[in-house]
């Protein structure tokens, strides 16, 4: 009998600590700053335990009956705490409030447990043995929990299911107490019924935990996901909210159908309209076909060659009706030739010449992509420019990544070209920058194809003006053997998101 009692103490101590660890870990995962999260959670929890212990003196009668109820409550609140917090983070603004509320409720309940238990059993043993044994097993339980949690529970069960499992233990303790303290309880059958209901709920939770985390993660993309695929090269996600379709590659927003016309008109027309008789155009990247849509507005263009790494991407934008609606079936035009290849080696080995070259790659977030923003790359591309040819480069934001933008501009300049930097406001991106480059003086065009919604002859010169907060900075060029751009880009975005 004695040993069963003390195992009960060990289990409830373990349960209490697990809920506290779950809350601390979850808060660290979701909010960051683990030192702050763990400190405040442990503090609140211990303080709430003190409140629970203080409250225990107001409980006079029915100690065993109340102990069973406390265990049941702990099982429910603690067991579902992790799932509740996950969902709260995904669907509400009240994550922190709920977290501290749960920590305090659990702390108060845990604080009640031990004083009540000691009073229940004080008549059975010497008081000094009660204190010694109860506290010994209490601390042993805490040790066990603190070792189990990082080694077994988090890696193998995850946070949601770990909390559920220990909720089941709490409810189990309640059920088992109805036997241990049977002589101090009335209506044990009803109590046992409640225990079984709670146990059943928690067991269901344990089995269904995956669905709960899934529901929470789905909500991290703001809108409904209508397409998601892991290709050999990247993770493609399309979302839709009403008429707004958004494309994400590796979680980076590529366009929003509501304002992409601003981006793509600005990418193509200031350059292409400035070329007297453009016949051959090259697009590097741009697998969504939206830049090609703009290029096809020039009837004198005879061929468009598009080089994009990912065949899944170009196939998706050739065949999916919703997406070909966006790019006006540009990939189906007989003028367009799609080549799925890595851009740098293709540029090195190909010998064709082009009147207009569009370079529209993902931002230089790593050293592999950074190779496509080097003097060596721009020199290789420049060899493909015809006598009067121009190239345009997507160059990140001169506002949010000002160092990076001017580093790209400097790199193109050091590759031996005259540069004309310009920028445009795209609501879903913010201020966005491009660099036009060629071997001759550039002048903004005096005529444009009909039907454009954003770029116009009158306002175009203003795109080439940079206000003081985006004004040119002196930056080193990005080179294959010294990729300063990746560091700058990393730093720029860290600075604004701290």
């Amino acid at each position: 009998m004695g040993i069963l009692l003390f195992i009960t103490v060990l289990l409830i101590a373990a349960c209490g600590l697990i809920y506290e660890l779950v809350a601390g870990t979850l808060a660290s995962y979701l909010l960051g700053d683990s030192v702050l999260q763990f400190s405040t959670i442990i503090g609140c929890y211990l303080f709430a335990m003190g409140i629970g212990s203080a409250l225990s003196r107001y409980i006079d009668r029915g100690l065993a009956y109340r102990f069973v109820w406390i265990e049941l409550l702990l099982g429910v609140v603690g067991g579902f705490s992790s799932a509740l917090l996950f969902l709260a983070f995904a669907y509400s603004q009240g994550f922190q409030f709920l977290m501290y509320a749960l920590v305090i409720v659990i702390g108060v309940l845990v604080g009640l447990e031990i004083p009540l238990l000691m009073r229940i059993i004080r008549d059975r043993y010497h008081f000094r043995d009660v204190v010694a044994h109860v506290l010994t097993f209490d601390y042993l339980g805490a040790l066990g929990a603190s070792l189990l949690f990082p080694i077994l529970l988090v890696p193998h069960l995850g946070l949601v299911r770990s909390a559920m499992l220990f909720g089941i233990l709490n409810a189990g303790v309640a059920l088992w107490s109805t036997w241990i303290f049977a002589n101090q309880l009335a209506r044990t059958a009803v109590l046992r019924g409640f225990c079984l209901v709670v146990l059943a709920a928690l067991c269901t939770g344990l089995v269904e935990a995956k669905r709960i985390t899934q529901a929470a993660e789905d909500n991290i993309y703001a809108d409904e996901i209508i397409f998601a695929r892991d290709t050999h090269y990247q993770h493609i996600v399309l979302t839709r909210f009403k008429d707004d379709i958004r494309l994400f590659l590796n979680s980076h927003l590529q366009f929003s159908s509501r304002d992409e016309y601003r981006y793509h008109e600005a990418l193509i027309h200031p350059g292409l309209s400035a070329i007297a008789a453009p016949r051959r155009v090259l697009v590097l990247g741009g697998g969504d076909g939206l830049a090609v849509r703009e290029i096809l507005k020039y009837p004198q263009v005879e061929s468009v060659t598009l080089v994009d790494l990912d065949p899944e991407m170009t196939r998706l934008f050739t065949t999916n009706p919703m997406l070909t609606g966006l790019n006006h079936q540009s990939f189906l035009s007989p003028k367009v030739h799609v080549i799925n290849a890595d851009a740098f080696p293709w540029v090195e080995s190909n010998t064709d010449s082009f009147d207009f070259i569009v370079i529209d790659f993902p931002d230089p977030t790593n050293y592999s992509l950074g190779k496509l923003y080097t003097t060596a790359f721009y020199k290789a591309v420049a060899r493909h420019l015809s006598e009067q040819g121009l190239m345009v480069v997507q160059s990140t934001s001169p506002m949010f990544a000002r160092d990076s933008y001017w580093c790209i501009a400097e790199t193109i300049k050091q590759a031996g070209m005259l540069i004309n930097p310009y920028h445009v406001y795209v609501p879903s991106f913010g201020e966005w920058g491009f660099v036009l480059a060629g071997h001759h003086e550039y002048r903004t065009p005096t005529s444009l194809p009909p039907g454009l919604r954003f770029v116009n002859v009158k306002d175009m010169p203003a795109l080439f003006q940079f206000p003081p907060d985006m004004a040119p900075m002196s930056m080193p060029p990005n080179r294959l053997n010294d990729q300063v751009l990746v560091h700058l880009y990393d730093q720029d975005w860290k600075d604004i998101s701290h």
Partner: protein
Amino acid sequence: MGLAAKSEPQIAGGFVNESFTQGHLLRDRAAFAAANRVEKIPIVIVGGGIAGLSAAWRLHKSGFRDFVLLEMCDQAGGNSRWGENEITRYPWAAHYVPVPGRKAIYVRELFEDLGVLKDGKWDERYLCFTPQERLFLYGRWQEGIEPAIGLTRSDRDEFRRLEEQIGAFRATSRFTVPMEVGFSQESANLDRISFADWLSEHRMNSRVLRWYLNYCCRDDYGATLDQTSAWAGIQYFASREPEEKGPLTWPEGNGWIVQRLMERIGSFVRTGRMVHRIVQSGSGLKVYAGDAEYHADFVIYAAPTFLAPYLVEGMMPLKTFEYSPWLTANLTLDRLPKNYGSDPTWDSVFMDSPTLGYVDATHQTLRTHVDRTVWTFYWALAEGPASQNRRMLLSGNWGYWKDAILHDLERVHPDIRQCVSRMDLMRMGHAMARPSVGAVTSPERRSLAKLHGNLLFANSDLSGFSIFEEAQYRGVVAAEHALARVSGSKRG
């Protein structure tokens, strides 16, 4: 029980480029078939490593055509040999050249000839791409090989003091590449103690500093700190002042240079011809290789110098030449390890490992996406006596060394066995000359290094250590010496 044994994917491979068997024929004075034809040719180059190829390049560039290069192996290149599979080309040993300083005039001339240096600018595609190097220590990766994390104040202080000392040595202009240009009495004094003792004398005892310096010596010389002379240790750092972030490297390492040289002088190179005897005869020399007897005015002996006493009739045995045994491996990876740990990096080193880590052959690709690659793994068997290490190197079978290498890699990449589909190994008993205490100043070496007579020694081991620039320098200088003396009519 229905449980399948946990099996790991099969790894194929074996030993390749085994040349010591031929070397042992010389050592054991085996009988060679007699020559059945005589070829009269003014200059014979013995050995097709960088020294020999550079001598040939110099002769050819001067318009001289009456020479032949004899190479024992089927592939020219020596320590710069390379291999190729369906994924990439890869090096077998030497895999980079530091960006040459102003004093390395012949190396700069070569690179101008090969289009690597144009109008004073180095071609970016041949400079090592970012990120260059990384070090695994305390369970994580840092950029660069010099330890930068977990240093105590006194560690930092010692690194700083060493840097100051090196700066002072550099300022004397006596530490140069090639070494002969600046070698002085001061250098000779430093050659009398070991680098380890020099560090102790200067109260540099930081464990981290010593690990780093020991790594550098193992990497460049195949020797530990106490097997390296203080002169060589300082030479490593004080001789270089790169004008550009380097080094120069290619997927196949220095094999790229070998190929470019072979495009120019390949028709003068005869591979699979082991020279087994060189004899003075009148004013000329007779060189015996295979079925032929070459009658030459000059022989440029660019093979490893330790072999010379076995070839050259009447030559005294050498006492001061020591060489380090090396093991290199090329691993074909069907995928990168799951915890690769950073953006793909050229050179990865593990702190406190007996090995030197690995170099990624596809690092110099212009592609943004790489699925499969080849790693070249380097292991200089430095600790302990070289002869004992050589025996160990030859006694272990392929499975033994394969497991030893995987074991080392597993510390850093636990799933490496699931990634590797093939591992080929190359064993080199005498891979690199070792600049031990007194080696560079030994009269034996100084005398052989001086070009005189008609037998001209040109191997890099005469510099005390085996690096590309020393080999190239000695090859070129020997060629110029011979050119100046060979009768004028034979200049093409």
